[in-house]
Every structure is written in structure tokens, then in C-alpha cells.
């Protein structure tokens, strides 16, 4: 601190002291709502108490689930000029894990909040970004120009470590020389994987993951956990382990001790996207998180083929598409329309299942092998909170506020600032989005905690944790909304990525295809969009519709 800043802080403290004298009781918890994925309607699946169909309708292509996967499928169909499809969604709005909220201060995410610069292989992502006007010029250029409003402003991330904020997420203060050399060794190992190609020239770790190399030693990485792999490399630095664990929790909702080493390394080694007007670590973001991509796909579909989305529709029974002699019959899908309190049967010529795979055993009839395969998928629960503040809270010393703000060894994964991209010199009111995974519990216990804990308990925990770096955050928080997501994302546990169970869902069927990030084994925008576009292209091919591929 400069001495002149100190003078100012003394002056400010003198002013604050007179105010503080009037206030002795701790302020009550800020008001808010407890939100979440639709539990009641979803749980009706288990009860199977839904009525028989009151109407039957034929639809050439049905897409179940309007998250990123389902919307990407719809986007690709519409782009090919094919409009004979229906997109159904259980929730009241599309978006899945990329939904957002909005209040008088700002829009804010209720889930995914950034997109790394697209890799060379993410051709469909680049195409979408170009269509949305965020990628300028040649969509396949090595270093495209991106819209600066979406490139995360500096500073992008910081870590609260040993009582002060530092730049970047790798702990620095007081870290021993040996640990630092382990940092370097880890970076070198990752660098090696990032540049490695397999025997047939594919990148070792590609995004989308389906294009990754298949060398035996690479696939064997899926047998052990990320933590075991680090230790096997002689990397035992506790700070490095914290950092890698944070990354695994942040992307997979799962600790490094539980995540497959293949998935863990993939996180670090697959992202090679570059920009002409930004550093390669820059991410694309917006106040509403990734919801702008959702809105963009919806707009694109509507502009090309009109409104195709039906929300509040629960697909509770899928009959057919089970190969064999039944393949000449359409697939019957029963939809519970919550608003109309009735069941609609859709006879779908082609079905794109873009909902999570854990639903398959509850919904599909027949398909014994798929159901068995689906049972090997495990899901991480998440808690997300949005805190509305009258201004950015006071700071301990160190690096200035960043977009992503992480607390070392925190319960939560830190918070992002929704107003970070705002074109303002003076930051006024703001919204902070705080994330928590439940990797310290089993997913079942995490879900039980989500189900049974009151909003006030979460609010107290969150404020108590954030009071460490921000002593006055409690008084500034005017609202604290909490969102529960019981099955937020698939967990890439060892053995899943290269298992038959997963690849079974990636296969092309005659009438049935799966288009969800689950099919890749981890929940990333790029994966969900790839699965959606791939399923759409396979469907178009099956129907004999001409199109130009986004994936070739």
C-alpha cells in the first residue's frame, strides 16, 4: 500500500467509525429464493402415474431436451433448411446448464459461464460463433478475430491465498522452490500432451474428444485417477494438487482423486484455441454466462424454420427404435404436457435424445443393453448462488477484482462477477455468481444435502466464506438466490471415457441417436454442441436431405 492510499484509508476509516457506532446487531440474512431443476415433474417419472395419451401426432424428427445438445441439433437441422422437427423441453425454458437469470442490476448465469477460445477441431462451435457475429472473418482461421465484448476483460482470474489476492490460480506466495519446480514439470508434461499426435496423426487430446488419439498408452490413462497419475509422475506438491483438484471440481464437479486421469489431462491439454486479438488463455463470456449462445441458437432456428420449441413437456415413455424387425415403425414418445395436464403421443420418424442419459432406464422400454450402459454413468450435484450487491465489496490487499475469483481451499469454487464485461469505469451495483460442487461427499449424499438444506443455511455458509476476503460483503448483499442442480453433470470416473457403455451411446442408429454431453463423458459446451450437430447430420443423411457438414 502506498502511503497516500493509506492516508485515504485512514480518512475513510474515520468516516466509517462514526457510522459503525450506530449499528451493533449483525444484519439479517438477505432475502432470496430457492430455485432448481424441476424436481416434482421429474420425479413423476419414477411414479409412472401419468395418464395415457389423449392425442397422437406424427413428427418426422423429434428432439428431446433443449439444452446445448438439443438446440445444436435443431440449429443444424434448421441450417440445412429442414424444419419438420419438434424440440421438447421439460423445464419452462430452454438452455439446460446454460440458463440464466436477470434482475435490475444485471443478467447472471445459473450454470455454465464461459467458452474457451474454440480449438481448431471445434469447427461447429466456430461456425456458430461466426453466425452470431462474435467470430469475424474466416471461421476456420488459426487465429480468428473475436468480438471484444465477449473476450473476458483483464484481469481474468485471481486467487485469495494466504490472506491476500494474487494474479492467476496457481498459489505463489511462500511456495517452496521444490514445489515451483513441480509446477514447471507439470506444465511441461501438459505441454507434451498438448503437442502430441497419435500414430494416425490425431491430436492426443482433442476437443471434441471424439477426435482424440487412440494410442494405447493414452487410453490407459483412463484407468487411473488424476491424483494417482500426478503422484506417479513424482508430483506431490500440495499446492499443485490443490490447483489440479480445483480444476477437476470446476469442470467435472468431482475431485482429482475420483476423476479419470485421461479426463483430467484432457482439461489441461485440449485447449489450444487462439485469437488474433487476445491471448490464448482468454475465454469468451457474457454477463448471462453461456445463455447468450442458447439465445443465439434459438434465434437462428426461429429465423430459418420458425418456432419449434415446446417447453414444459416431459418425455416419460419411449417405445421402439430397438433395432430388429421393429425398425420400420416410428418411435412412440409419450409427452406429459404440464400446462395442459395431458399426455401427447408423438410418433417420431427419427428421435434425437438430447436429455441426460440417466433418464434412459426410466423412460425407454426395451433397450436392455442401453439401460445397462446408462447405469454406469454417475452424476455430480451442484449448488449455484447469485448474490446481488449494491457495489463491489471491500478488498483485502493484493490483486484487483477479476472476473473469476477463487478462494484457496474454499468450500466453494469461488465466484465470477456478472458485471465484469460491462462498459463502465465506475462499478456500481453488481451480481456475483458463486459455485459449489459436492465432491467431498458421494453424489447421493450431495443430492440429499441439496434436497434437505434450507436456503438460509446455504446463504449463511456462502457469506461466512466470502467474509474472509470481503469483510463487508454481508452488509452489501441485498439478495441471495440459490439454485440446486441435483444431476448437474456427468462424472468422468476412471474407465468411463473409453468404455463400451459410453461408446454405445455414440453409435448411429436407424431411428435413434443420442446427442448430449454425457455421450462424451464430460459436460462441456463444445462436447454437447458436437453431439447435437453430429446427431442432426446423421439424421439428415438418413432422411436424404442435402447439407454441408459443420464437422468435416
Amino acid at each position: 500500500m502506498h502511503r497516500r492510499d493509506f492516508l485515504n484509508s485512514i480518512a475513510a476509516a474515520a468516516g466509517a467509525a462514526s457510522l459503525a457506532a450506530c449499528r451493533s446487531q449483525p444484519p439479517a440474512l438477505p432475502p432470496g429464493e430457492l430455485l432448481g431443476t424441476s424436481l416434482q415433474i421429474g420425479h413423476r417419472l419414477r411414479e409412472q402415474g401419468l395418464p395415457a395419451a389423449s392425442e397422437t401426432r406424427k413428427v418426422p424428427v423429434l428432439i428431446v431436451g433443449a439444452g446445448v445438445g438439443g438446440l445444436a441439433a435443431g440449429w443444424k437441422l434448421a441450417q440445412a433448411g429442414f424444419g419438420d422437427f419438434l424440440l421438447v423441453e421439460l423445464e419452462a425454458e430452454a438452455g439446460g446448464n446454460s440458463r440464466a437469470g436477470r434482475n435490475a442490476v444485471s443478467a447472471y448465469p445459473w450454470g455454465a459461464h464461459y467458452l474457451p477460445l474454440p480449438t481448431r477441431e471445434s469447427t461447429a462451435v466456430r461456425e456458430l460463433l461466426a453466425e452470431l457475429g462474435v467470430l469475424h472473418g474466416d471461421a476456420r482461421a488459426a487465429r480468428p478475430v473475436y468480438d471484444e465484448r465477449h473476450l473476458c476483460a483483464t484481469p481474468q482470474e485471481r486467487l485469495y491465498f494466504a490472506g491476500r489476492w494474487q494474479d492467476g490460480l496457481l498459489p505463489q506466495t511462500g511456495v517452496s522452490a521444490d514445489e515451483r519446480s513441480q509446477y514447471r514439470r507439470f506444465a511441461e508434461l501438459i505441454e507434451g500432451f498438448a503437442h502430441r499426435r497419435d500414430a494416425s496423426g490425431r491430436p492426443a487430446f482433442a476437443l471434441p474428444m471424439a477426435l482424440s488419439g487412440r494410442d494405447r498408452d493414452l487410453l490407459l490413462l483412463d484407468r487411473s485417477s488424476m491424483r494417482e497419475w500426478l503422484l506417479a509422475q513424482g508430483l506431490d506438491s500440495p499446492h499443485l494438487h490443490w490447483y489440479v483438484n480445483h480444476a477437476c471440481r470446476d469442470d467435472y464437479g468431482t475431485s482429482s482423486a475420483a476423476v479419470s486421469a485421461w479426463a483430467g489431462i484432457h482439461y489441461f491439454a485440449c485447449r489450444d484455441g487462439q485469437a488474433a486479438n487476445a491471448g490464448s488463455d482468454t475465454v469468451l463470456t457474457a454477463p448471462e454466462g453461456n445463455a447468450w449462445l442458447i439465445a443465439g441458437m434459438l434465434r437462428s432456428i426461429e429465423a430459418r424454420v420458425g418456432q419449434r420449441l415446446q417447453t414444459g413437456a416431459l418425455a416419460f415413455r419411449v417405445d421402439g427404435g430397438d433395432g430388429g424387425g421393429a425398425s420400420d415403425r416410428p418411435i412412440a414418445v409419450d409427452l406429459w404436457l404440464a400446462a395442459e395436464q395431458r399426455t401427447l403421443r408423438v410418433l417420431a420418424g427419427q428421435l434425437i435424445w438430447a436429455a441426460p442419459l440417466f433418464l434412459v432406464p426410466w423412460v425407454f422400454t426395451g433397450h436392455g443393453e442401453l439401460k445397462r450402459a446408462a447405469s454406469s454413468f454417475s452424476y455430480a450435484p451442484w449448488l449455484i448462488a447469485n448474490l446481488t450487491l449494491s457495489r463491489l465489496p471491500d478488498e483485502r490487499s493484493g490483486a484487483p477484482p477479476a472476473w473469476d475469483n477463487v478462494l484457496y481451499q474454499g468450500n466453494g469454487l469461488g465466484y465470477i462477477v456478472a458485471t465484469h464485461q460491462q462498459m463502465r469505469v465506475w462499478q456500481g451495483a453488481t451480481v456475483l455468481t458463486w459455485y459449489r460442487s459436492f465432491d467431498e461427499l458421494t453424489p447421493e449424499l450431495g443430492r440429499a444435502a441439496l434436497r434437505d438444506t434450507a436456503r438460509e443455511v446455504w446463504a449463511e455458509q456462502i457469506l461466512a466464506e466470502l467474509e474472509g476476503p470481503h469483510p463487508n460483503i454481508r452488509g452489501l448483499t441485498s439478495r441471495l438466490d440459490v439454485f440446486r442442480n441435483a444431476h448437474a453433470m456427468v462424472r468422468p470416473l476412471p474407465g468411463l471415457i473409453w468404455s463400451d457403455a459410453r461408446t454405445r451411446f455414440a453409435a448411429d442408429g436407424e431411428r435413434l441417436r443420442f446427442a448430449h454431453a454425457d455421450v462424451s463423458g464430460f459436460s462441456l459446451f463444445e462436447e454437447a454442441q458436437y453431439r447435437g450437430v453430429l446427431a442432426a447430420e446423421r439424421t439428415l443423411r438418413r432422411l436424404g436431405v442435402r447439407f454441408s457438414s459443420s464437422l468435416a
Binding site: R3, L7, I10, A11, A14, E148, M423, V425, W426
Partner: protein, 499 residues
């Protein structure tokens, strides 16, 4: 009697620890590196206490008198310690360390005397075993109480100066109480009471005037008389005067000196505006002092000047205070001027007005918030408000002291496709200062000035555009919101100047 003394042990133990914590915290604030500051302060303090305890052997008689005197000394010295150290630092950081350790040592010695004295006083009434047990218990309890209160209540709510004064009052109160209890046994009781009362009064006065103390310290920082000081939500505005020189400081950075500000503002406005004989609409971003507006209003063809400044306190001050209205020729009250208090970025995003001439007069890019106002995105936004044949001029820090920063502004303006003409002028209170004219058409410098000027003349104007060798162009990256390179350049370059 016994209970009273034990309670006073509790108080003096709290005070002793408090001074130690205050000295450590103050040293960390002012000098940085809190680990070093705290460990050296605590170490010297404990050592001094040892010295005090050892010295206690030389106190033979009059134990109670000595105890009261020690308390009064600790109270005054400890109570004023934070204020004293703080003033010493604003005066000069160099002898500050010496003074810091002297003060810490002196307080430590006195505090070291306290407990042995109390034990010896109590020994007259209690067995030794009891004395040691009870005195040390209260000693440690007092320390616990303060170590908890210090970070939770005292520092955030009172600040360091007032906390120290508060504990000073407590020490003196203990002394006065002891005086009351033992007044029969004390020689010169009246004199002692007078000393105690003076100490108590001066500490209480200082506590009440702690706010004044802060501004007094601030006055040490500014050599000149402060004629106006105001903290707004956005900045601290301080206006100083020395003879006929008025100076404006925002957050302790000099904005202008009335002795040479005409050089800055003429150089900012006229090279651009003198080439635009049909300019009717002018925008000024920043510059709430109205001095750039004063120069603009010299042009009769200008019909409207829109001034966008974030801080209403700034524009209010410069529209109302007589000496400032005289300085800016009452520019902010002109019917041709529209003052808008808004965030410039937000205003540019939301407004669709366009202008023939735009003056961009923001503070230097010393942090990420201000760095946004020098980014390619900002200039793109600015370009949207520029008439087809319009020009913008941007104050761009010093091409001499912050050479790469200056050329970074030039590079950034070029990156969005504007034609750019850099120039510079000497403003003695700032040094060599840089400006950039940007527009969509080539710029030709003026052959003459139609308005009255004190600094610029047609003959010397070409020299503004010539950069001597030590200011010629250097490579710089484009300043973007997602890299903020300018803030990095600026910080590095000015750090070297200040050293």
C-alpha cells in the same frame, strides 16, 4: 484494594498488547511486508519489556508513585504513538523506522516495568504464590481480550490512531484510579493529579479530533494551504493555494496548476479545433474543471459543448467557487455548455449524438478501470460519435516519462483504422506532455489561430509535431480490454520515474 489492582493488571495488559499490535499494523501499512514488520516489532517490544523488568530492581521505594508515573508515561506515549508515527512518516519516511523502533522500545520498557511493580505492591497483602498466579492470570486475560478485539472491532471501526488514543486513555485512567486509592500514601499528590488530568485531557481531545488529525497529516503531504477538500464516492478532491497558484489534486495526483494550466489546455484544444472552422458541436469527456471548455468557448462558431464528467461534486465545485469560476471564465455556467454527470463509457454506449470535435481528457491509465478508457473498444465507441470530418484529441500521458505508454495510445487508435497525429508540449508542472489527434481524414496542423492564446503561436506550432530522439516512436501492443497492456506499461514507466 487487591481486586482493584488485579483489575488494573487486566487493563494494563490489554494496553500493552494493543500498542504492540498498533505499531506492528502501522509499520505493515506504511512499509509493507507485514511478516517482517510484525516480527521485528514484536521482537523489539518483548526485548524492551525484558529490559523494563530488569530495570525494575532499581526502583526501591515509592512503589505506588512510580507505578502511577509509569502508567501516565505509557498512556501518553502509547496513546499518541500511532499519530506520532503517522505524522513522522508523512514528513519523511527515512527516519520513520528509527522513530518506530525507538517508540516501540520506550513503550516496551515502560510496560515491562508495570507487572513487576504491581507484583511487589501486592506482595504486601498476599503470599507470593498467590501474587504470581493472580497477576499473571489477569495479564494473559487482558492480552487475550485485546488480541480478539483488535482485528474485529478496533481497527475496522476506530482505525489505528483512535485505537491507540483509546488505550492511552485507559492507561491514564488506571493511573488516576490508583492515585485515588492511594492518595493518602502519596507524596505530592496534588501535582501528580494535575499531571494525570493534563494527560487525560490531551488524549481525549486528540481522540475527539482524530478526523482533524487526519487532514492535518494530509496537509503535511501537500506543501501548500488546502482551500478545499472533499471526499466523493468517486475520488478525493483537494484544492491547494500558494500565493496566486491554485492546484487541483484528484486522489493525490496533480491535475493542474493555475500557473501553467493554459499551456496544457491550449495544447489540448487548439491544434485540433483551430482546423475545424465549421465545428458546431463539441464533446468533452472528463475535464470537469471546465478549463478545456473555456478554450473551446473562445470559438464563436461552437454552438454546443457537452461535458461528460463522472463526479457531480467536481462540476459543482468548478461552477460555483469564485476563484475557480474566474479561472475557467465561468465556462460551466455558459448557456452553450451542457454538463452531464455520467460514466463516460456508459454515456457513449447509450447516446447517439455525434460531434465535430471531441476532447478526451481522462486521468492517466493508472488502474484497470481507467485503462478501459484507453482501449480499442473505447476508441471504437468514440469513433461512432465522431462526425465524418470530425476530430478527437486525446491526452495521452508523457511521451518522455512514459514513452511506451504514449505510443501505445497511438498504436491503439491506429488499430481501429483512425488516422493519427501525435504531438507534445511542455507544461512545467507536469513536464513534457503528449496528445494525439485522431480522425477519419488526414489532419493538417493550423496555419494560424483565430482566437487569443498565451502559449501557442503559428510559428511554434510545427515544433509540437516534431518528436526529439528521446521521445520518438517505440513498439507497443494494442491496448485491449482483454490485455490492459497500457496499465502495465504505465506502471513500469512511472515507477522508474519516481525512483
Amino acid at each position: 484494594m487487591k481486586q482493584a489492582l488485579l483489575f488494573s493488571v487486566f487493563i494494563i495488559a490489554s494496553c500493552g498488547l494493543a500498542y504492540e499490535l498498533i505499531a506492528g499494523a502501522l509499520a505493515s501499512y506504511l512499509l509493507g511486508d507485514s511478516v517482517t514488520q510484525f516480527s521485528t516489532v514484536i521482537g523489539s517490544y518483548l526485548f524492551a519489556m525484558g529490559v523494563g523488568s530488569w530495570l525494575s530492581r532499581y526502583i526501591g521505594q515509592n512503589l505506588i508513585l512510580r507505578f502511577i508515573q509509569v502508567e501516565l508515561l505509557v498512556g501518553v506515549l502509547g496513546g499518541f504513538s500511532a499519530a506520532l508515527l503517522f505524522f513522522a512518516f508523512t514528513w519523511s519516511p527515512a527516519p520513520f523506522r528509527l522513530l518506530l523502533y525507538l517508540v516501540v522500545f520506550a513503550i516496551g520498557v515502560l510496560v515491562g516495568l508495570e507487572i513487576p511493580l504491581v507484583m511487589r505492591i501486592l506482595k504486601r497483602d498476599l503470599v507470593f504464590r498467590e501474587v504470581v498466579s493472580q497477576v499473571l492470570t489477569f495479564d494473559y486475560l487482558g492480552a487475550l481480550a485485546v488480541s480478539i478485539l483488535f482485528p474485529i472491532l478496533l481497527v475496522p471501526h476506530l482505525g489505528l490512531i483512535r485505537s491507540a488514543l483509546l488505550f492511552g486513555v485507559l492507561n491514564v485512567a488506571v493511573a488516576l484510579w490508583a492515585w485515588w486509592l492511594f492518595r493518602e500514601q502519596l507524596p505530592n499528590a496534588g501535582w501528580l493529579r494535575a499531571q494525570g488530568s493534563v494527560a487525560l485531557l490531551s488524549l481525549l481531545t486528540a481522540f475527539a479530533a482524530a478526523g482533524e488529525l487526519t487532514s492535518l497529516a494530509e496537509r503535511q503531504l501537500y506543501a501548500d494551504e488546502i482551500v478545499h477538500a472533499e471526499s466523493t464516492p468517486y475520488q478525493r478532491i483537494v484544492l491547494t493555494r500558494w500565493k496566486d497558484d491554485l492546484r487541483l489534486h484528484l486522489n493525490n495526483n496533480l491535475q493542474f496548476s493555475s500557473r501553467d494550466e493554459y499551456r496544457y489546455h491550449e495544447a489540448l484544444v487548439h491544434p485540433g479545433l483551430a482546423t475545424l472552422p465549421t465545428a458546431r458541436r463539441v464533446l468533452v469527456l472528463g475535464g470537469g474543471d471546465g478549463l478545456a471548455v473555456r478554450e473551446i468557448l473562445k470559438y464563436p462558431q461552437v454552438e454546443t459543448v457537452v461535458l461528460v464528467d463522472l463526479d457531480p461534486a467536481m462540476t459543482r465545485l468548478f461552477a460555483s467557487a469564485p476563484p475557480l469560476r474566474k479561472l475557467n471564465h465561468d465556462a460551466l455556467n455558459s448557456p452553450r455548455v451542457r454538463v452531464i454527470n455520467a460514466d463516460a463509457l456508459q454515456w457513449l454506449e447509450e447516446s447517439d449524438e455525434s460531434f465535430d470535435f471531441v476532447v478526451v481528457d481522462f486521468p492517466d491509465p493508472s488502474n484497470f478501470s481507467l485503462g478501459k478508457l484507453y482501449s480499442a473498444s473505447f476508441y471504437r465507441l468514440l469513433d461512432r460519435h465522431l462526425a465524418a470530418s470530425g476530430l478527437a484529441v486525446i491526452q495521452s500521458t508523457s511521451p518522455l516519462y512514459a514513452r511506451q505508454s504514449f505510443w501505445c495510445v497511438v498504436t491503439t487508435l491506429e488499430s481501429i483504422g483512425l488516422l493519427v497525429t501525435p504531438y507534445h508540449a511542455l507544461v512545467p508542472s507536469f513536464g513534457e506532455w503528449g496528445f494525439v489527434i485522431a480522425g477519419r481524414r488526414p489532419y493538417r496542423s493550423p496555419q494560424s489561430y483565430a482566437v487569443a492564446t498565451r502559449f501557442l503561436s503559428p510559428e511554434t506550432t510545427p515544433a509540437l509535431f516534431v518528436f526529439p530522439r528521446d521521445m520518438t516512436r517505440v513498439d507497443a501492443e494494442v491496448n485491449r480490454l482483454n490485455n490492459q497492456v497500457l496499465v502495465r506499461y504505465f506502471e513500469q514507466e512511472w515507477r522508474q520515474v519516481i525512483r
